[in-house]
Symmetry: C2
Subunit: 314 residues, 2 copies
């Protein structure tokens, strides 16, 4: 029986194999991924982001429990911090892996930042599609910070939870960081610590000060103590509420369509690049062009223009 | 007189205007940038990277002084941290701007991470080309961390200085972060603090353990106290030494050629995307295709394949 058949029958080991196959871009991975896309579309994607030390992993753990207790199937994708100077991710993984009994109702995958040259967002997206096609009801996607790669990942989520803690700076910094623009829900975690109340109040004030349309989603601020699982159930209800909201007003579908559009464009660009590089390898003296640019007798824009015209004319 | 003429005559206000023009992608910016490329190629690009709080700004300041004192012209490009949770960059900028007298021998530019959707590395590269064409001998490029965007920026540098401090973690973390692979020079800054000696020794041991060819550059480790400008002169000499080394063995030219190749490819991909999107807008019912994908009767790969064939056949 093929790996795909076993995957479609719900064999969790086949899921791991399928993901590895796609991540390695092994032979035929596009056809495989294409098939997964046709099966996918039902799973909800919840992004949890915030600074290092905000307790995202614990929060994700808690949320996973909430959904699992309701009989749902939960996938977790943890994207390692872009900043490699904090080394906490690995230990976190191991803790979580042990906390849930093996079975086909929970799956955890850690994505490494390094090595995935420019393609981490795409790789994360692909894993999410695999989990979706496998039948997980919920995928929790955990990222640190809001660099470009993280933004691409977060933008692919249906609901975005931004987690802050008193230690991570004040509300002004949060706003400056552009987190107001991506948050559907704010969580003030470690809310039993000094400064938490103040942070929550400042956030509230800033949210109030923003111009919002009457029909817009009202971004809630939830105080949690994730290690004690305090208010994690409330967070889960708010997530469900947000999903309901965007389902009703058509935003969810709109969002999914945009994601598909982006995916198609990225596949096509990749295809173009491959063909173009092939042509370049065969028909063009690229080194001679670079020589000229090095000498300053032409420049990359003129060269690109000529090369593109040659390629398009073929 | 046109801005470009004033730029070429060394008017520093024209430099600012040219950079803004390029950053805004204002009308004709490609021709302008193309012309700058033809004038550029002489400036050396020194990348300074490391974790937040490693004292990079102070180090860059010190290096700028070293070069200015020798009568050289120095540009500084500071790329704001990807992680927006640390808010130190803005203050640092102001301090630096005031420290150097106005004139055409020093120029400072801060690049914002947010907003530059996917294009921060390209934008930084463009500014560097403008500084180069303007006649700066040295461009110091400061980045935080090693996410993909930062890696792209650092890879465009001729010499990469990785700055660590005892607080930023041990040598193992530095290695795990992939910093061993990008460093041409290590700096242990704040070397008067506890743990600095140990960090330096561990780094040395790890560098020794790496397999290196006899003809390879030997990565030095320099202890500095940037706030006291201690050993910044030594760092500067090591940078000069590294530049001499890669000039002699042809690596510098090889590296510059690769950068040009990458630039040409990115221009062409952009051009392709624009034309493709135009075609899409006119000739294709994209919404109908997305409908089918949403229903699971086709997938993004099949759709991309068909669209690409249509476009190529035109």
């Amino acid at each position: 029986m093929s790996v795909l058949s076993r995957f479609l029958e719900g064999d969790i080991r086949a899921l791991s194999k399928v993901i590895s196959h796609i991540e390695d871009r092994a032979k035929g991975y596009q056809d495989l991924l294409g098939t997964l896309y046709e099966k996918a579309g039902k799973s909800l994607r919840i992004g949890i982001t915030g600074p290092p030390g905000a307790g995202k992993s614990t929060l994700v753990n808690g949320l996973a429990h909430e959904y699992l207790n309701d009989g749902m199937r939960v996938g977790v994708v943890a994207v390692d911090p872009t900043s490699p100077f904090t080394g906490g991710a690995l230990l976190g993984d191991r803790v979580r892996m042990n906390e849930f009994p093996p079975g086909d109702r929970f799956y955890f995958r850690s994505m490494a930042t390094r090595g995935a040259s420019g393609g981490l967002a795409a790789a994360t997206g692909n894993v999410t599609v695999a989990l979706d096609a496998f039948g997980f009801d919920i995928t929790l996607i955990e990222t640190v910070g809001v660099g470009q790669v993280e933004l691409d990942i977060i933008n692919a989520c249906d609901t975005v939870v931004v987690t802050v803690v008193p230690e991570s700076g004040d509300a002004v910094q949060t706003m400056k960081a552009g987190l107001m623009e991506i948050a559907d829900i704010f969580v003030v975690n470690k809310s039993d610590r000094p400064g938490a109340e103040r942070l929550g109040m400042d956030l509230k004030q800033m949210l109030r000060a923003r111009p919002v349309k009457p029909e817009s989603w009202k971004i809630p601020i939830i105080d949690t103590v994730a290690v004690e699982r305090k208010n994690v159930d409330l967070l889960r209800r708010k997530i469900d509420e947000h999903i309901g909201f965007i389902k009703n007003n058509g935003q969810l579908e709109q969002h999914r369509r945009q994601q598909i559009e982006k995916k198609i464009l990225s596949i096509i660009k990749y295809q173009f690049q491959r063909e173009f590089l092939e042509t370049l390898g065969k028909d063009v003296d690229f080194e001679a062009i670079i020589d000229k640019i090095m000498k300053g007798t032409t420049n990359p824009f003129k060269a690109a223009d000529e090369l593109y015209t040659t390629f398009s004319g073929k």
